[in-house]
Symmetry: C2
Amino acid sequence: MQELTEKDIQAIEIGAGILGTGGGGNPYYGKLHAIAEMRRGAKVRLMSLGELDDDALVISVGNIGAPAVSMEKICEGNEIVRAVRAIEEEVGRKVDAIIAVEIGGANGIRPAAIAAIMDLPLVDGDGMGRAFPEMQMTTFSIYGHCSMPAAMSDAHGNTVIFKHLVSELWLERLARSCVVQMGAGAGMVEAPMSGKFVKQYAVPGTVTQARNLGLAVMEANKANLNPIEQICRQENGQVLFEGKIVDLERKMVAGFTRGNLQLEGIANFSNEQASVDIQNENLIFRINGEVKCSVPDLIIILDIETGHAITTEVLRYGQKVAVLGIPCHPLLRSSRALEVVGPKAFGYPDVSYQPFEQN
Amino acid sequence: MQELTEKDIQAIEIGAGILGTGGGGNPYYGKLHAIAEMRRGAKVRLMSLGELDDDALVISVGNIGAPAVSMEKICEGNEIVRAVRAIEEEVGRKVDAIIAVEIGGANGIRPAAIAAIMDLPLVDGDGMGRAFPEMQMTTFSIYGHCSMPAAMSDAHGNTVIFKHLVSELWLERLARSCVVQMGAGAGMVEAPMSGKFVKQYAVPGTVTQARNLGLAVMEANKANLNPIEQICRQENGQVLFEGKIVDLERKMVAGFTRGNLQLEGIANFSNEQASVDIQNENLIFRINGEVKCSVPDLIIILDIETGHAITTEVLRYGQKVAVLGIPCHPLLRSSRALEVVGPKAFGYPDVSYQPFEQN
């Protein structure tokens, strides 16, 4: 078990932003929340998967909603805590540790604040190894964990329990329609898992991964090195494109941010056109109309100077960006996983997933 | 305690249809359900308010959804039973009796089937003394009962618990958005009440009232008497209009049936025009543009020949109908009640409620 420092939290903010592939919400407020808790004397204790007891009760936590809304409608702070307490009451047992539902974006760092508030260890891993827009898209759900009873709680204290639903998709459907009523932001937790299950099916080590990514960017910035090169080296990534944003369509649909981004190439990519399709996260990357990288691989849009991620809601016309591809974790590349998080699951019947490094 | 017969159930179907003021869903399927249970040997035991123990646990039950949908998407039958079981688990105690959330329409008779299945007494009363479209519109909520924890369950077995919500309006909001996802039909139960509270704030004797109304119509039909006169006599009602439906607008909006009905007068009402505004139930009745009767008083559209109620979803162009006004129960005429169920609560800022018998 390792106690995280403020510097770690700052690094995780940067790393979670990168792993968010544009979505998962901006991690900035989550960082402030975690640091505020630490300054009050609370501790964020990171626990590796190996340290987890097989029969420990681990609960996956995060916020549900639209990233664009989360920038203006800031969390009250205890939404997730209330949801965890409701589930503890429901199952009649206290949970032993918490794990991020996704390491990407706001949900990659908010659990650190919640772990501090609740004085519980934060497990070093998550259910996506990135961010995804829908709730059934976790390795936990994909590999057979039933998310019910799940709970959500909003800033007012409204708390809803999804006691028994016939599928993970029903949870997405009902929780999504509730969160729209709740103003497109709420804390969400799923049924606790055994430590044994988490050890097998969590994407491992992703809190550390986010921190190391952040530290690499911070160090590169300090030493005037190219941060994007550092990121690629550390993550087996590849620069897919460099260009300027020349068109941007972004709208709120049914609680999601959906859109499309058009890029005009610069430097090595002059005279080429690229595009990114978005549903909270970056889904499909094309050059001159041809798919070069798709979910579940990570499509990451970075500020070309700083190497910091640009999340969906802060994309702007005229920004100069690099588009990176990073391979997703093998747990997301199985045929079972691709049914849930491959291009077809996102409404692209004509796109067959290919590991992007083979394109 | 009194055991209901098949004839009673048939009479309640007719009476609940009349008291539904156009909404609450068509009681036909609920009648079939109750009779099927009785033929299997189950009993519907009617308990008067006076027989209720002060510390008995009474749960109010009904279906939530759009009446128009309930005609085609028939209940699976155990939706409400599952919701009751979920609440019993939630509060850690078995309930002692059930009460209809509303006596009007389908919810006036379905509880008889549920009482039979669960072998629980059915309390002779309800929370509306008619039907209303929204959940906060019960005398229980109006007079201070908190509906949470409430539960809903659909035909698939999806069960959601509204554990803690900051107001009754939030229950309406969240349950409504869930039921839209559930195909606009689900069983819904609210937190149990004490017998003491129910004795004070339930609209009393309404199951018996519905039965007696139905028996009066059945007898009038048999004896070739005017059933509408019988209804008026029994309920202090008044024929507000007789006419032909000359225009009908009806659509599904956000899980509700909304619409407007235009009538051209016949007999004593020749050369007069009338209209009825609808949100599941008949809300506002006008003659030549002037409001003659409004919620919470009962505006009832009857087949002019048979005296049977015509619910919103079976209104048709060309039907000859009588429009009846019946005074609502005094519990609905207090200023506290009118804030929740008066014309303003339904979006008519310019209509001031007046007991219709004073118009």
